[in-house]
């Protein structure tokens, strides 16, 4: 058993990075490793867009991440600085910025970049998926 972390920096649909990362994440968890977290940075933050409505004959990546979190207790951490400028806010941040509505919901959580450093140094392996 090893501790893994994943860093995802590609937006869903625009690039294959999210597909690759989700599939790799499942393989990690299913082999009995401990996936300590998936960190979403750069355009990867778009994976948390709760309003995403992909065509029904395409994989639904937001739902895929949500299922991963539910099945294996994997934290899904979104870089808050990268998210805010891209329009991804949870209820708390929306209130703080005076915006009506929100675009990020649990199990995705907005967090600082320090979490990425922590994950990367605490885990045995960090695997990055870029666009």
């Amino acid at each position: 058993m090893m501790r893994y972390a994943i860093l995802l920096m590609g937006a869903p649909y625009s690039s294959q990075a999210a597909h690759s990362a989700l599939r790799f994440a499942r393989a990690v968890a299913e082999r009995g490793h401990r996936l300590e977290g998936v960190f979403f940075y750069h355009d990867g933050v778009h994976n948390a867009a709760r309003l995403a409505a992909p065509p029904q004959d395409e994989p639904h990546l937001v739902d895929g991440w949500t299922a991963l979190a539910a099945d294996h207790g994997v934290p899904l951490q979104i870089c808050i600085a990268a998210a805010l400028r891209r329009g991804l806010l949870d209820e708390r941040e929306a209130a703080r910025h005076g915006k009506q509505g929100y675009s990020v919901a649990p199990p995705f959580e907005l967090t600082g970049l320090g979490q990425l450093v922590d994950l990367g140094l605490r885990c045995d392996r960090l695997v990055t998926f870029g666009p």
Partner: protein, 127 residues
């Protein structure tokens, strides 16, 4: 296919596809633009440049998560009367492909012909 078939006239579109399937959404989004233009009655020329030639490799499949890829869309081109498919000769060579082994019939164009294409079509979209 006659050589002058590829040259556009007023109102024609040239859609340049420079990405392969699965890796990004460029190919799908470029094809979608081409299909819409054709549905609106426009004549569309597709030019597969660079990595775009890999869109025409036969035997493509869905991705492991069920991503459907673009080959089903390519198979619909004829229904939309998009029948002018051009492939860059140099790109075929780069990938070790041959025009007669592609999933659809496409005419090779040499580098020297490319500049005429852009100037003879009313609208050029690059993807």
């Amino acid at each position: 296919m006659a050589n002058d078939k590829a040259l556009g006239v007023d109102g024609d579109l040239l859609v340049i596809l420079r990405h392969g399937p699965h890796g990004t959404s460029w190919l799908r989004e470029g094809l979608d633009a081409a299909l819409v233009a054709a549905a609106f009655g426009r004549r569309v020329t597709l030019l597969f440049m660079g990595e775009g030639v890999t869109a025409l490799v036969p035997g493509q499949k869905s991705g492991p998560l069920g991503q459907k890829g673009t080959s089903p869309t390519l198979e619909m081109l004829e229904m939309y009367d998009i029948d002018t498919l051009l492939v860059e000769t140099e790109a075929l060579a780069l990938f070790g492909l041959r025009a007669d082994g592609l999933m659809l019939s496409a005419r090779e164009v040499e580098a020297a012909e490319l500049d005429e294409l852009a100037s003879t079509h009313s609208l050029v979209l690059t993807f």
